[in-house]
Symmetry: none
Subunit: 198 residues, 4 copies
């Protein structure tokens, strides 16, 4: 079924362009016309490959999420207990990841009035938490965690998610104030604090 692949690849291509556009001008100024122009296709491109503009945006959101997920998976594939590695993979340390976060900011704005977008966001957050819990358990198994009877992986995972999101928001709107080193300093500091707290 060669057509199917082509079709899906085209969806990816379009949604990637949409992501770039969103990061540049914001989601509400991304028009179908502009998107088509940037993609080099006709305006009917959306109707062709997506039921709706809304579906295109949802797909774009999911594609961005999956892209981040893949970066994390790559890290965990090498070492399943690399906490710092997988958190680093999520931080807006370079242009590409900063753009990814811009997409998320845009979708947070949309998710306010849109139950399906909100659910998607909730799902993704829960997925990340489960992932972090898994990593923490792997660390525990490999003895990387300080001996700590009462350690609560779920709470720690929540703390890490708080870190990632809170950091990204600040970096997103003031990148000059947040060079990579400062982000890493904050990351390491929080990891150290969190892992040593019962």
């Amino acid at each position: 079924m060669p057509r199917q692949v082509d079709h899906d690849a085209r969806r990816q291509e379009v949604s990637l362009i949409a992501a770039k556009l969103i990061a540049q001008v914001g989601v509400e100024r991304v028009t179908v016309r502009e998107l088509a122009r940037a993609a080099g296709y006709s305006t009917a491109i959306v109707s062709h490959y997506f039921a709706d503009k809304r579906q295109l945006l949802l797909f774009t959101y999911q594609a961005a999420a999956q892209s981040a997920q893949e970066r994390v998976d790559a890290v965990l594939g090498r070492s399943p207990d690399d906490l710092e590695g997988c958190l680093t993979a999520l931080l807006p340390l370079d242009e590409e990841r900063r753009r990814e976060w811009q997409v998320w900011f845009a979708f947070w704005g949309m998710a306010i009035g849109d139950a399906e977008f909100a659910a998607e966001q909730r799902r993704r957050m829960a997925g990340s938490r489960r992932m972090l819990v898994r990593v923490l358990r792997a660390m525990s198994a490999s003895g990387k965690l300080p001996p700590n009877g009462d350690f609560d992986p779920d709470l720690a995972a929540r703390q890490f998610l708080t870190l990632i999101n809170g950091l990204a928001v600040q970096v997103g709107f003031d990148p000059d104030d947040w060079p990579a080193e400062r982000q890493m300093l904050m990351l390491k500091r929080t990891i150290a604090q969190t892992l040593s707290t019962p």
Copy 2:
């Protein structure tokens, strides 16, 4: 003599309704028409009190920021070193404050493609950081900080801001998962960790 109207009060009134609407349906579905209907005025009311829809939104953002600021000031007015108090004042613990955060999420989305909104966001974040540094210095002066020679107030303030923002994002889209107690637990935990780290 015509009826005299307190322009600024009317602006506040309209922007408050705008904030509620934004929190309900998202910023991009807030139309002037809908806003006028909710306010009980004609559509021309916006043009009457604001140069622009954009100006109305900017004003709404600033009003929300000021409202939060006033809550914090009230706390610090009573005790200038009440760190937990002023952070608590910012958390989305009740309906009103949750709505406030929804407004901010909406504006983050807008700030992506809008330099002026981004600058406003940057300014607000910097202001909050300065405020936190002031509180930390007050704590230090009143001996509330553990003796810690290398304590860095700026870094700590950044950590608290990360906490607040990161928490709010999670609460915002999954409030059921984040009852007040869990938010407070996370807050106290992070405060304890941060203050005891050099």
Copy 3:
């Protein structure tokens, strides 16, 4: 009845400002608000002194026509057969008269779709023709016309009106190309030609 005078003077004042505004930005960009601002009154000024914006404009037109008429009358008061004088009084030779013509251009635009304005314009043109015929007859009586049995005053008046209007249109949109001397040259030339044609 002092009030009545005041009222009428105010109407004159407002319409003069309207004329200036029209000459500056064109009739369709003259808003009640702008007019009120320029006059230093409130927006209700029009409703107060005129039934309508349209009535204000009509009054403005008539006031401009009367002003031109008065200039002509002043000339003819001194010498009732001063043809060149009264035509000169109508030409856009200075800033004030150029502005007057701008008002007329504006009203020609309005008169297209407005029967009352068109009628007004027709009336004014007919009045000017009658005036010119009177002057020509006076010239004839005072022996200023070359002996010319078949001279047709009506036809000559039409020719002079054609001259005045045709000249004004050209001057109006290219004043640099039409200094006063050139206008006067054209005027004298046409007068000479016309009076010497049977």
Copy 4:
């Protein structure tokens, strides 16, 4: 393959309808809605073929000017020294040409506050003058001009333009008073006078 449309032809079509509408109700009462209704299209048609309503109007003006130009060119194509013919082609002798002049009256009103429209008007007038000078030179070459050493073609051209515009203004608002014969009488008379004046 989608249906291919001749963009320029469609623009012509729309602007012709606009011209008719302007001549009927005046330029300021020509709304996009009314225009679309008259054209049998949706309101978006204007945005489709013109950047702006203003651009549509400018195009309409230019189209009217070109239409007149073509009539003149047709005359001069047959005989390049047919002065009366080309002036006749410009006079509002029939319904079509009267409508054309109404469009120009409307644009004179707009040109007051609009530098680009004023420039366009200036350009057209200058073009007409050049054309007339060319015709006069052709007449001179073919011996159609009375032997007249000091004859000034530029001045004569100005006089003819004055005639055309001045006549059109009078005809435009009182067509009943200006049947074709009277217009032609005035035209012939002025031609005779002008050509015999040094």
